[in-house]
């Protein structure tokens, strides 16, 4: 990336921080409601130094990794079934879209009542958050395999499972990667929703804890962490992976 882009981006943050500081100094809001940037920074440093935020982060990542792995597995299975079987697609395809449109936070009361106020309930919400979007993308991935690939492979003697694994699976990989990226994004949102209403540990729980104890600087600090992780993981891991596959498949120059 061009250095000038980074200069613009950093300048933007500096301006934002200056406005924030200005509003604080105007005294319009009470300090307890509107801490200055320095105090938020201090809260973050203290949180990491005493280990509370580190612990919360590790717990959140544990929920996310287990939940996302399950969501990807389940979503792939459902997606392949709907993608390959017209019967299944006609029967259940529409409901999949309905399920996918339910915001994850809606599942939290159900999870808590069903499983209890514990980490399993949080993972359950993460799984629901990621599975449907994954399944929808896998279905699209399979439907979008160019028919000429299948025809060409058939004239070369491929059929049945070898045709599926040697042609359809690799041909659908670019869409599959988009599915994983979206599953991660949805799971991450679901994780925060689940943890906010759980009784810990986790980043979402720490956020509510901070609210209950009126620690506005920590509330803002955690929101910043959530945003940073969300974008960093997307940019450094999933977008990169997706682009790499697209480039190799010749879909991106």
């Amino acid at each position: 990336m061009k250095p000038s882009i980074w200069v613009k981006r950093i300048a933007f943050i500096i301006v934002l921080l200056a406005i924030w500081q200005g509003v604080y100094m105007s005294g319009y809001f009470p300090a307890i409601q509107f801490p200055p940037p320095t105090k938020v920074f201090q809260a973050l440093v203290e949180g990491f130094a005493d280990g509370t935020l580190v612990g919360a982060l590790l717990a959140s990542f544990k929920h996310l990794l287990i939940g996302l792995a399950l969501a990807i597995t389940l979503g792939t299975l459902i997606g392949v079934l709907l993608g390959k079987s017209r019967q299944a697609d006609e029967t259940a395809g529409m409901y999949l879209i309905a399920m996918q449109s339910i915001p994850s936070i809606v599942w939290v009361p159900l999870a808590i009542m069903l499983i209890g106020l514990n980490e399993t309930a949080v993972i359950f919400v993460v799984v629901l958050g990621g599975t449907f979007v994954m399944a929808l993308n896998v279905r699209t991935a399979i439907h979008s395999v160019p028919p000429e690939f299948i025809k060409a492979a058939r004239t070369m003697g491929a059929k049945g499972l070898p045709l599926f694994f040697k042609v359809e699976v690799p041909a659908s990989l670019p869409y599959y990667m988009s599915g994983i990226r979206l599953a991660w994004a949805f799971s991450w949102r679901a994780l925060m929703a689940g943890e906010l209403l759980s009784n810990g540990p986790g980043l979402g729980y720490s956020l509510r804890f901070a609210m209950d104890f009126a620690q506005m600087e920590l509330v803002i600090g955690i929101i910043i962490i959530v945003g940073v992780i969300g974008s960093v993981v997307d940019q450094l891991v999933f977008s990169k992976l997706e682009k790499k596959v697209m480039r190799r498949w010749g879909l991106l120059k």
Binding site: E148, K151, A152, A153, T155, M156, K159, A171, W249, G250
Partner: protein
């Protein structure tokens, strides 16, 4: 006869594509099926490939009835349909069965890539090649499984004029070298005359064979050769009525629906 079509018909629920197709093709011949769009020539070729069901009649290759796709028939489509996740070499070895050793596969790939002059690009990925080069890889891939017959469905239709001429010459060399039986579908009269030993002309609505004749002109054939020009005229006249028929139908449709 080597490749035999006997009273072959194709019908869909609402219309007939063609019926009563009888063709016998000898071994080591280059045969073109020429016709306007909609005559079903590509459908017929797909039936020989085993990709399309036969509604009526039988197709036989070397005495055996064609029911499914098989490696005894290699096919080249209008689109190269190369697998983008494989290198050029791996695309060419794709149809080879597991009973070939790795070295044998390498050898076969090297052999056919040399034939299409792409040895230098064996480790490249398809999207790094031009359209003409991709189509050459597709030809090498079809040849690699050593089919009894090579089926080509307007293989140069999507290429520019210049590239098409180069590939015509390459295909002629390959034909002379391998002596494969080639069944070539095209809508270009010039292309059919330039390449084939025999041209089968199809008419449309419904599809049927309206002419079938040998091209006894020494190769390489030049476009300004009087015999070539004569042949072109002859086929052009044959097809004129067919094309008029299609045009009239389309015009009637327009006036009926827009007028």
């Amino acid at each position: 006869m080597f490749l035999q079509m006997n009273e072959v018909a194709k019908r869909f629920a609402d219309h007939e594509v063609f019926s009563g197709i009888n063709v016998s093709i000898e071994k080591n011949q280059f045969v073109s099926i020429l016709g306007p769009s909609g005559c079903g020539k590509s459908t017929l070729l797909s039936m020989v490939a085993g990709l399309e069901d036969v509604t009526e009649g039988t197709l036989r290759l070397g005495g055996e009835k064609i029911l499914h796709p098989g490696t005894d028939r290699g096919m080249v489509f209008q689109q190269p349909a190369l697998f983008p996740w494989l290198t050029v070499k791996d695309n060419v070895t794709f149809p080879l069965k597991a009973d070939h050793s790795k070295r044998e596969k390498e050898q076969i790939a090297a052999n056919y890539l040399k034939m299409v002059h792409l040895t230098r690009f064996k480790d490249a990925y398809p999207h790094e090649l031009s359209g003409g080069m991709q189509q050459r890889v597709a030809i090498a891939r079809a040849l690699a499984m050593d089919p009894k017959v090579l089926l080509m469905d307007e293989p140069f239709g999507a290429l520019d004029e210049q590239t098409r001429h180069i590939l015509h010459d390459e295909l002629m060399k390959i034909f002379e070298e391998t002596k494969k039986t080639i069944l070539f579908v095209t809508h270009s009269i010039q292309e059919a005359i330039k390449l084939s030993d025999r041209v089968i002309v199809m008419g449309t609505r419904p599809g049927k064979i309206i002419a079938d004749f040998p091209i006894d002109i020494a190769r390489p054939r030049e476009r300004d050769d009087t015999k070539v020009i004569e042949m072109e005229k002859k086929i052009m006249e044959l097809l004129e009525d067919e094309i008029k028929k299609v045009m009239k139908e389309e015009l009637d449709y327009e006036t009926k629906h827009l007028g």
